[in-house]
Symmetry: C2
Subunit: 174 residues, 2 copies
């Protein structure tokens, strides 16, 4: 969870990693994720949720599990009327480090610096999540709630941005 | 939704197909599915939910969408403490028609006969869903709520079946 100001200054609000065990049944694992995302969304009421867009680099069985979990997260946001944005790992790396092929260490280092943290977020998944949130805010326009799940949706028209800003303001006012 | 008696006699309770449009954003499509499954589970309070296990025959982008939707469905069942069972398409075809490589027409025809329906369920997805439900009940033991999402979980030990039967009875008594 990050707050991003209009001048692109980003501040960490909270970070968490939800873990499940391969020994749990699939339904129990998805339940753990469902309950966790509900709690995070209800506690922090974000303007937008960013989810990693998974691509064909992965094999089918890995994609299945990741996609099932992401489906739960996306539906949880949709139930609350919170827009969902998706970005690929290379978009995230490019936004945060300047290179779409940066390694995990570089992402963690830059996330630590951008958020002015005293220590690097651990595990690496936490840094990845923060990088994804920063990426969305920077690509969509600082602090805007603008997002869709359509392809290539990160570039907003001025009208979309104005609408998104108004939406974000209305949300904060509630 | 089917009721299956101990003698394997199966009766259709209800059938439905939830459709979404490719023109809707992903989050809206998953929301439609989430709301529909919530309504079905709350209205019919099934003993068990059977979900098709998707395998690597599909390409990655098709798998993604199917997996995201199945994640939403599985989590909805898990939230309610309803066990989830998964069966592959060939398990379903084999259970209903006797052949793991039967075509859609054969599945529809047999489902219509097994459920003693006056007309074939339409669209084919509806017949597939009914076939999956029948398959689960027949494989798990008639009317049993037994199910897990682990691999190869359809074959129950006698102890598991006894437990499942007791569970199913307790559920009906509520």
């Amino acid at each position: 969870m990050v707050d991003v100001e209009r001048n692109r200054r980003a501040t960490m609000v909270a970070v968490g990693v939800v873990g499940t065990s391969p020994e749990q049944t699939l339904d129990q694992r998805l339940l753990v994720i469902a309950l966790a995302i509900d709690e995070w969304l209800d506690r922090h009421k974000p303007d937008v949720v960013a989810v990693e867009r998974v691509f064909s680099q992965m094999n089918v069985s890995t994609v299945m599990g990741v996609a099932q979990a992401s489906g739960v997260v996306i539906a949880a946001a949709a139930r609350r009327g919170i827009p969902v944005a998706m970005h690929t790992p290379s978009e995230v790396k490019a936004a945060v480090t300047g290179s779409g092929s940066a390694n995990k260490d570089a992402v963690t280092k830059l996330v630590t610096k951008i958020l002015r943290l005293e220590a690097a977020p651990r595990p690496a998944d936490a840094a990845d999540a923060l990088a994804l949130a920063i990426t969305h805010a920077w690509r969509a326009g600082s602090g805007a709630a603008a997002a869709t799940t359509g392809p290539g949706s990160s570039a907003l028209t001025p009208a979309q941005r104005a609408w998104a800003d108004a939406e974000a303001k209305a949300r904060r006012g509630r």
